[in-house]
Symmetry: D2
Amino acid sequence: MKRIKVAVMGCTGLVGQQFVKLLDEHPYFELAALTSSSRSAGKGYGRALNWAVGGEIPEAAREMEVSETAVDALLKSQVKVVFSAVPAFLAEKIEHLLRAQGLFIFSNASTHRMDEDVPILIPEINPGHFALVRKQMSRHKGFIVTNSNCSTSGLAMVLAPLEPLGMKSVTVTTFQSISGAGRRGLAAMDIAANAIPFIKNEEEKMEGELQKILGQLDRHKIVSRNLPVNASCCRIPVREGHLLSIVVDFLKEVDVGDVEKALSNFSSVPQALKLPTAPERPVIVRQEEDRPQPVLDVHAGQPERARGMAVTVGRIRKKARSINLFALVHNTVRGAAGTCLLSAELAFQKGLVH
Amino acid sequence: MKRIKVAVMGCTGLVGQQFVKLLDEHPYFELAALTSSSRSAGKGYGRALNWAVGGEIPEAAREMEVSETAVDALLKSQVKVVFSAVPAFLAEKIEHLLRAQGLFIFSNASTHRMDEDVPILIPEINPGHFALVRKQMSRHKGFIVTNSNCSTSGLAMVLAPLEPLGMKSVTVTTFQSISGAGRRGLAAMDIAANAIPFIKNEEEKMEGELQKILGQLDRHKIVSRNLPVNASCCRIPVREGHLLSIVVDFLKEVDVGDVEKALSNFSSVPQALKLPTAPERPVIVRQEEDRPQPVLDVHAGQPERARGMAVTVGRIRKKARSINLFALVHNTVRGAAGTCLLSAELAFQKGLVH
Amino acid sequence: MKRIKVAVMGCTGLVGQQFVKLLDEHPYFELAALTSSSRSAGKGYGRALNWAVGGEIPEAAREMEVSETAVDALLKSQVKVVFSAVPAFLAEKIEHLLRAQGLFIFSNASTHRMDEDVPILIPEINPGHFALVRKQMSRHKGFIVTNSNCSTSGLAMVLAPLEPLGMKSVTVTTFQSISGAGRRGLAAMDIAANAIPFIKNEEEKMEGELQKILGQLDRHKIVSRNLPVNASCCRIPVREGHLLSIVVDFLKEVDVGDVEKALSNFSSVPQALKLPTAPERPVIVRQEEDRPQPVLDVHAGQPERARGMAVTVGRIRKKARSINLFALVHNTVRGAAGTCLLSAELAFQKGLVH
Amino acid sequence: MKRIKVAVMGCTGLVGQQFVKLLDEHPYFELAALTSSSRSAGKGYGRALNWAVGGEIPEAAREMEVSETAVDALLKSQVKVVFSAVPAFLAEKIEHLLRAQGLFIFSNASTHRMDEDVPILIPEINPGHFALVRKQMSRHKGFIVTNSNCSTSGLAMVLAPLEPLGMKSVTVTTFQSISGAGRRGLAAMDIAANAIPFIKNEEEKMEGELQKILGQLDRHKIVSRNLPVNASCCRIPVREGHLLSIVVDFLKEVDVGDVEKALSNFSSVPQALKLPTAPERPVIVRQEEDRPQPVLDVHAGQPERARGMAVTVGRIRKKARSINLFALVHNTVRGAAGTCLLSAELAFQKGLVH
């Protein structure tokens, strides 16, 4: 099987690094280009950054020259697929231009998430939303597919399997790790031994994006889910992994066992297709009284290639018509690079990228 | 004015240390005895511990000899009031014996909180509950007054001022500091750069104690408040201060301004009596978009003697019939030693301890 | 006594905030102007920053308008003394211009430290170096006095009292807190639960500045001390306080008792003059086996106004002709704003600023 | 090749867990027994602990029943080799009894390290010291081999390759992670955002054990090295990895390049024999200006099975006749379980365990 040439755009940040890590010896994709800001351009990748995502820089990437993020450079590299980890303001400038050139963009940027013809794809939840890209391709040569906000991905992975139980509303408080703010996004003096109960636009994203992710595709348009979500977001001094305290109000009484079963049994298209980055069990329910914990559970996910792709749930408790639980999501893997890559793998299997 | 002799029982732990600190040069009370486990007994206080609550050990306490926690030792010291910071199992053995000897116990232990004739006193909220001690004194010579669980105190301080607005139910998620587990209660390896979504019995205490605190006194008995509270508790790597993410559902729509006003204007008996440890404003509402934060706000409270006694509230947001907010309480001051002392000051002013 | 009007230049950073805090109700100086970058200019001080140095913003400063750092603005404010907490590149542009206008600059910037006629003043150590300012004033209208690098100040405070014992060389490894990098100088992802064994130019500063500080004044020139210092600097995830592991090789054998006595008895001009910010004991020797510790000892210093001005030493151990010890210095107080202010107080007492 | 049955004694602590992790699918050894204190005995391994060393509990160990640490239980399990991670007081009671029964003990406990006929083995440094076990076997049926203290192992791995350059003395300051104190050895309140400049007996161990490790075997006895070492030890809030600031005084001047070469080229018996846990390069020299860092470098070591077995060195600087450098060692792998296992692998290859 011939591998498809891909680029990682914005390769020096934490999400960019995760893309490079996850693409190491990937069966479908071959890393052929790395782009970054002018500050890193021209350097070998290994010299352009402090590798901060564990293990060593993949051999194939270490000596690759980083080029400046620009349409020309990407076209010249002859990649077909671009994994985008650039900040939103930059995504706004360049992603649509790349699409116009026939490239397939899988983006972690929030810029196009709410575009009518762009899906926020989480392949276990809404693989059907991929249909939207045909609408894009009818107008442009390529397409853009986005993943959701990092906290939203954890919430969605918990709520989607519970849909059959009939949800009325959701209240969520987040404990978000510092890696969620990016490599240099948070000053040490601000967060050391502290908690900051504010993350710009995060609550709005959680409440808004979820409706689209859980929405139904109706004649090439997504009808929003309209599930009331009340989010409160807080940063804590943890390195990786967003922990969520979730309360789901159900339309009728449900039992802890119902919820456990729905979550544990959750399996979907990526599992059926055995996509390389798909975790065998997308949601893992733990029985210990004090889990999930970021340090212990952030890398959940089997096989090796799917480390960090499973969401861990614990402390499922019933309270009248509500169920309380804690969930943990790896914010730069399942909440960013990993889900983007899983979407690209799904596209590959469907023959949409080639 | 002659000062009353008091003891701090369990003086080496964090709450015991806060008692000693708050009692330094106190206008009503004179520290006359310090007790601890046999391991520290016989030592000078300064040598019995690592002072861990800021500043220096008060001169008056530094050289005082620590005696073993026992009824005899306390009677011999001729104290009238005992501030108890011993663990629950020890409180169960000794507090009722001290009461039988005519001593007035102000206790941070959970042991007697739910006794029918023992109040869980927060002087700003339920000063009238003090009436219960007369019931105790009719049976015993002395009395026991308790303060609430540390997280509960923060929650109660926020909810009490909102009572007039008509609350229907409350959902709360906590971010609790490591000092809440005591000086040696939590292993560093467990919590370093981690979050642990479980604190034994904490959720039950928050949901239960609150009903008694907000209850009405009816013919010498407290009628529970019966406000549905749904609590989820988590430990985070912060040294001092419990942060709460609170959602209050109201019976009818209320505005952010109503809540702000109710909280900012809250003032009660301790403020009217100008008790020494009473903060001028028991609840401080901050307008910044990212407050309260443990490191910045934990010591809130004026004057100097009331540092840590004010609860700080921020990010008040409306969501349909709910109001979201974050609140911060100093867990070993307002949530423990400080409120206990404030109760004793109230008793002193009422002539109940002498 | 009429107070002298002073400005804090660079008032929003951590050192600037410490200046503002230390100047609150100061007996000699009256805060009359605050300057900062254009981003904060025009705002009230309380709105221009997150107060991060403990306690509350002093009333007198809270509503004061911040002006942009510029010669004109400072002249217009009619201050006589400027406390400078601006970064080195900015100090280079403005400090000499202010001096030319007759202002007296006490600066935390490294820019002029090595100028031949500018002292690096630590009033307990080299008060006589103040004579250098007369040389400056013969050429300019005002003068510049600097304080040392933060780690150097801790090292110098330990070594100066040991001079009579005959030192041969010094080896030092530092454990530096994140506040030493400034409010936004260090990314949380870099230092969280980590240690970084590199701080740009720090080792050079420690090795170089010390020679000038311990140097002798000879006919209006400082003759360098020439004591071999070998420094290795490392950042650790502590908020405030630089801990130093120091090994002093002596010319002949000395005993632990000699070192203890020399340090404990150290007292100098600021103590004799009872300068407001002078700690009663500039060096505190602790006998516990595990001190000094940043969290427990960083604020050492009596009276209240001198909190953070005492250096704490512990674990003094002998090893052949070497003495090992650990020392702790509050990097933004004794290592920055506090020593600068102490120098200005000394100048005030000598009639050098008026 | 038939695998040898082994036990891990003290299997629930951090070092015990590392043994279990490293033994997963080991080519020479088969995990056949797990022992712990009575509190865990009788439980399945997976239920007896919080797995805290990364990844998941190996399948083969998860359901294995933990028995109480006792001679009988270990004999019944028919293991030949015991990896001991019990505390020193327990090692003192049981290790010699197991040896008397013909078992081969590879121990992380300090108890027997200084016994005349017990080697402190680091296979890259002193493989020849294995000869001492014959002396033991002449008296007992089995033998005991120890590994060094965790910090010492890092120091020894750096110094051994430098022996040919002629060392005169060594000064070292440590930055030790909290895992070094064991799973529950350090209270969170003591170390959170703090540094503690004292670790009981650590400095003595570093100074003493090193002499034996670097000693020469002379007629079945080890002649101590007698290199002056001056150690100062400090705990910092890092999870894994001990960082060392090392100053080596040489007998004559050496260059940075000499040191770099000696360290980078270091390779020894385990590498030649391709032992499973041997890292290809035992010492890795990094050129970046700010390495090694615990978070980035603690897992250094190739191949996969040797993760954490390489010591990382950086910031090699010359200062007169001294060389300064920073080194990082994984304290529970290279500093404990990993080196123990490497010694057992060496014994296996030599036919000493069978």
